[in-house]
Point group: C2
Chain length 235, copies 2
Amino acid sequence: MSGKRSLIRSGTTVDQMVRAIGDRIVTGFLRPGEKLDETSLAARFDVSRTPVREALGQLSAMGLVERRPNRGAIVAVVTQEHLASMFESMAELEAICARFSAERMTSSERRALEVEHQASARMVRLGAEEDYEYFNTEFHSRLYRGAHNAHIYEMTVMTRSRLAPFRRAQFMLPGRLAKSWQEHDAIVTAIMRGDGVTAGNSAKDHVSIVSKASSVFALGEQPKGTSTTMPVTAG
Amino acid sequence: MSGKRSLIRSGTTVDQMVRAIGDRIVTGFLRPGEKLDETSLAARFDVSRTPVREALGQLSAMGLVERRPNRGAIVAVVTQEHLASMFESMAELEAICARFSAERMTSSERRALEVEHQASARMVRLGAEEDYEYFNTEFHSRLYRGAHNAHIYEMTVMTRSRLAPFRRAQFMLPGRLAKSWQEHDAIVTAIMRGDGVTAGNSAKDHVSIVSKASSVFALGEQPKGTSTTMPVTAG
DNA sequence: GGCACGGCGATTGCATGCAATTTCTCGAAG
DNA sequence: CTTCGAGAAATTGCATGCAATCGCCGTGCC
């Protein structure tokens, strides 16, 4: 092979591979069950097989790919049951984040949350789904950070990304935008009051609703997205 | 190099390395901050550097080791703050497991839990700490499995193993054995009644107490355990 | 005496090579 | 027509080799 790194940002080659492949899985460009051929991937990214192998190993440790000894790697295929367990976990994790956020957010964090949340109302009125999705992602991220707990943050972000391929289409449901905003509103209100229990419950309900909406799509069709890194998910 | 695999059970060489190194970290044989030299490890286990590198990569993805590009790997050193966040997460996770267990355990699971719990009372009376620890580990594992949620199970087990090095000495505290049993008893009782909320709260309290007890030891001394895989932790 | 700089040894990062296992193909027998 | 099996091709797993980077240490300069 020849030339130099052609893609993605810096870090070691292995890190680039992890991001590149992980991205393609999370965004749905690589679909569950799809074979991940070391040689092809190496050629595709113009590196040797070694960093590809290491990347696959790490992605396997993260649960994004499945590795059968001597039989190659495939994009992790999640059973309907395991998918449900992840959605349920997500609801619980978000509930914790919301509860902690209500108890621990600094006043500037609260202010920022409130401001952004109100700003997103505009997107709802306009029916701007794409833009709302951005706000939505940001909203949830604020909750995760606001919990002020690094480990829960890690678990939540990880779970969220593993669920990403299955959440894509959920805005298809009519009226989902407005409902989503109302659910967010309940969370925000509770956080502002410092009411952790209510915030947690609201968050759990919110995610549960999203889960149900998503699982409708998760069954049959698997979206084949673009390869660009886009802010995934929505809820 | 020559010969064949000398150690540990089957699987690929990389898996063996992951287990071998991970074990030594989890049991405290390798201490936080300790340098993980690829060449030395390769020599120590009589393999080439490649599988060692892959293993370090996976362990890094799991959070057990830290990897500075071009500067080698060290056993992950957790700040006091991050440690606290993991203990707190553990309390929340166990609470979830206990709550779900109360709601979902099959009757045979409930029976087994009860039986084992009662059996462990004997260890308390005898003051058999070693044996109690076995029951204790088993008890918590039953809770994790009883939640019937694969993803939460993964997160809980993972978090538990990352905390393992910091929980070792907790039985030093006088009367801890009896108190631990009583706390377990509260959880079991609630689970038997199907009272998820109480079970969750009891579990959370239980873990919180263990956390406090452990954090006393976590600060200064870092135990240098034996290299054998032993049932870690206790609570 | 302290600090900057440059060469040297040690270590990591990646590429390549080879052996082992698996899968594919094709043919023959039932 | 299906099933089984032997051989070949492809693919994985690991070892080794080489270049690049980092840290160390000694030297010279301020």
